[in-house]
């Protein structure tokens, strides 16, 4: 009995000690706010990196957690976080109803990846209709005449195509299906755009990682992943034909080209989808990720700190973004965004920016 009490005391004291162990409480620390944000998993790596670098510079902490775009929207509406993040932009009337504004923060690309013996990365060429037909289940073997036509120089084996898509709802799926929706009437009628859709064929895998693993395991597999996953796992990517008719490879340059040609000024609420953009060098499946904040900010100091962070990311975050295989928002766009902050955001009746 005594042993148990002593042990209990030790455990209790250790817990208390632990509770205070993490405190690096300096006077500066205690006055710092922590900004909390949650949402899309697409930009998670780059937001964490920016938060880390910013903390090194200014001491301000920003905690971003990837719980999914839907989660981000739900949490910012519930006001349990200071900002939300979503890969799929909200429509202007939805924004108005919730009292939010959105603005693009980062750009990335989605890449079709394959696993066919004998085909190296960047060799396979796919047209938009071919990609749609594969995912619709119309083209079911790799030696189908349609694929052969587009790739006369490749020797395509007689292997069944296994489509691997996402099982979980995700912004990546939204961007991918949005593209297919635009380029294929059949896809538009049968399936549509969504973070989760009723896939006509294929197997569902959890997360980008799940798709990557399954594609790599199944001979004849085809899937779609975020660019970072394709690179990190050294996967075999395919070239896509863009709107201008050129076959392009997924690179920072082609993502940037897609973003550069977009007309942000004419997009109310920055509702802009970067798939199937014009331009010879544009990558067809590019997407932006958005930040959502309330128009009426409850705490002025916190809101200003948050905006200063975003401003820093716009001006100084490009290199980190590039390292992680994302594309930063171009200057003419973030200038527009900051004008929107000036116009739309307020706290205690006063403007917040500049």
């Amino acid at each position: 009995m005594r042993r148990a009490m002593v042990l209990g005391l030790i455990i209790g004291l250790s817990l208390v000690a632990l509770a205070f162990s993490g405190q690096r409480a300096t006077a500066e620390d205690r006055s710092q706010v922590t900004i909390n944000g949650a949402g899309a998993s697409f930009p998670y790596p780059v937001y964490s990196r920016w938060a880390f670098d910013y903390q090194r510079l200014t001491g301000m902490k920003l905690n971003y957690q990837s719980i999914g775009s839907g989660g981000g929207i739900a949490q910012i509406k519930a006001k349990t976080v200071n900002f939300g993040a979503s890969d799929a932009p909200m429509k202007p009337d939805e924004l108005r109803e919730a009292g939010l504004i959105q603005f693009p923060m980062i750009i990335g690309g989605v890449v079709p990846v394959i696993n066919v013996k004998g085909i190296a990365p960047g060799q396979l060429r796919l047209t938009s209709s071919l990609l749609a037909d594969i995912f619709l289940g119309r083209v079911t073997t790799w030696d189908h005449p349609a694929i052969k036509d587009t790739n006369p120089s490749l020797s395509l084996p007689k292997v069944a195509i296994t489509v691997i898509h996402r099982a979980d709802g995700s912004g990546t799926t939204w961007i991918f299906t949005n593209y297919l929706d635009k380029v294929s009437t059949e896809w538009h009628e049968k399936v549509g755009t969504g973070k989760a859709v009723d896939w006509p064929v294929g197997v569902g895998a959890k997360g980008n990682e799940g798709v990557a693993v399954n594609v790599q395991r199944i001979n004849g597999g085809i899937g779609y992943v975020e660019y970072a996953y394709a690179l990190q796992n050294k996967m075999t990517h395919a070239l896509l034909q863009n709107r201008a008719g050129k076959f392009v490879a997924p690179t920072n340059g082609t993502f940037q080209a897609a973003a550069a040609n977009a007309d942000w000024e004419k997009a109310p609420g920055y509702y802009m989808v970067l798939t199937d953009q014009p331009g010879e060098q544009s990558w067809p499946i590019t997407g932006a990720s958005f930040i959502l904040v309330h128009k009426e900010q409850p705490e002025k100091a916190r809101a200003v700190a948050m905006l200063k962070f975003f401003d820093w990311c716009y001006r100084h975050g490009a290199k980190a973004a590039k390292d992680l295989h994302y594309v930063a928002i171009p200057e003419k766009v973030f200038t527009l965004v900051e004008k929107t902050w000036e116009k739309e955001l307020s706290a205690d009746g006063g403007t917040l920016w500049p």
Binding site: G70, A167, G169, T193, K195, G202, G204, K206, R217
Partner: protein, 310 residues
């Protein structure tokens, strides 16, 4: 010292305090039930009874149905219980009756370790290690030998209902086994000795005397495992293949209620979508009740109730 005829104050306090704790359980389950009911409102209104039998699942057109999820939950749980219950009983018997005390302790701790492994690890192990193993060795063999049965037809992809059921079995095994072992260990030596004194073999003594003595604990252990299997989320999500479809084959991908929730809840933003997911949760709730009630009725029919007056 004569006891007072009314309950002493200490006893009354004790009874009320412990009753209060039991009431907390009731409050929690009622809370969860009402929250699910409240959340399912829109979905119940829109789809009504056909939700339970509809195979649709289209987040774009907002048409939802629970059939594939219910089917997957029932089948994967059934596979898991069929595999895990006998193995748990037998291992528990081994640990208590047959093995050397040191072996028993080591193996017992080992089994408890299985319970300690985070469910996401089961999922990752399943995806990266076990599914390829199933795809390469087990499923082709089953398909070759038993392929005439629709149960074992289809391409051996590794991920699918069978793999999910086996991993679930591995996950509930340690819970059931540990609880069963402790139940068996509570059988007083004198009871067992009287059986041996009459000349029974170990198995006979165990089956006719020990198991019957602690049947309530054994049944409780099975419910522990059942509950775990029905609600397990992460591990199943990684290996069940996540396809909203119903197939007769165990090799085919499917999904369970818990895996659908895990996959789609975070991203669902449309109110009807969220509501449909909540209704799935509500259905799982109902399913749990049905399973337990059915089990209890069966047990009573077989003559084994949970109350054993010692």
């Amino acid at each position: 010292m004569p006891r007072s005829r009314r309950q002493p104050k200490g006893d009354r306090v004790f009874k009320h305090v412990s009753a209060g704790c039991a009431v907390i359980l009731l409050a929690l389950i009622a809370g969860v039930f009402f929250e699910l009911l409240h959340g399912s409102g829109q979905s119940l209104a829109k789809f009504g009874a056909r939700f339970v039998v509809s195979r649709a699942w289209d987040p774009v057109t907002q048409e939802f149905g629970a059939a594939s999820s219910i089917f997957g939950t029932v089948v994967s749980t059934a596979i898991a219980m069929v595999l895990a219950v006998p193995v748990s009983v037998v291992i528990a018997i081994l640990l208590v009756e047959l093995a050397h005390p040191i072996v028993s302790r080591v193996v017992g701790t080992g089994i408890e370790l299985l319970a300690a492994i985070p469910s996401i690890i089961y999922g990752m192990w399943g995806l990266f290690v076990f599914a390829p193993f199933m795809a390469t060795y087990v499923q082709p063999a089953l398909g070759a030998k038993l392929g005439f049965l629709p149960l074992f037809q289809g391409p051996p992809m590794g991920i699918g209902m069978l793999t999910a059921g086996i991993i679930l079995a591995l996950m509930v095994l340690p819970f059931m086994c540990a609880a069963m072992r402790d139940s068996l260990a509570m059988v007083p030596a004198v009871v067992k000795e009287s059986a041996y004194g009459m000349g029974s073999t170990t198995w006979e003594a165990t089956r006719r005397v020990s198991l019957r003595y602690c049947i309530s604990g054994m049944v409780g252990a099975v419910f522990l495992g059942l509950g775990r299997a029905l609600g397990e989320t992460m591990a199943v999500t990684f290996v069940i293949g996540n396809s909203h479809s119903i197939s007769a084959s165990l090799f085919a991908p499917g999904n369970s209620i818990a895996s659908t929730l895990a996959n789609e809840f975070a991203e669902a933003s449309e109110p009807v979508y969220v509501s449909a997911l909540m209704e799935l949760g509500l259905l799982l709730f109902v399913l749990t009740f049905v399973f337990q009630a059915a089990a209890r009725i069966w047990l009573r029919g077989v003559g084994l109730t949970e109350r054993v007056e010692g």
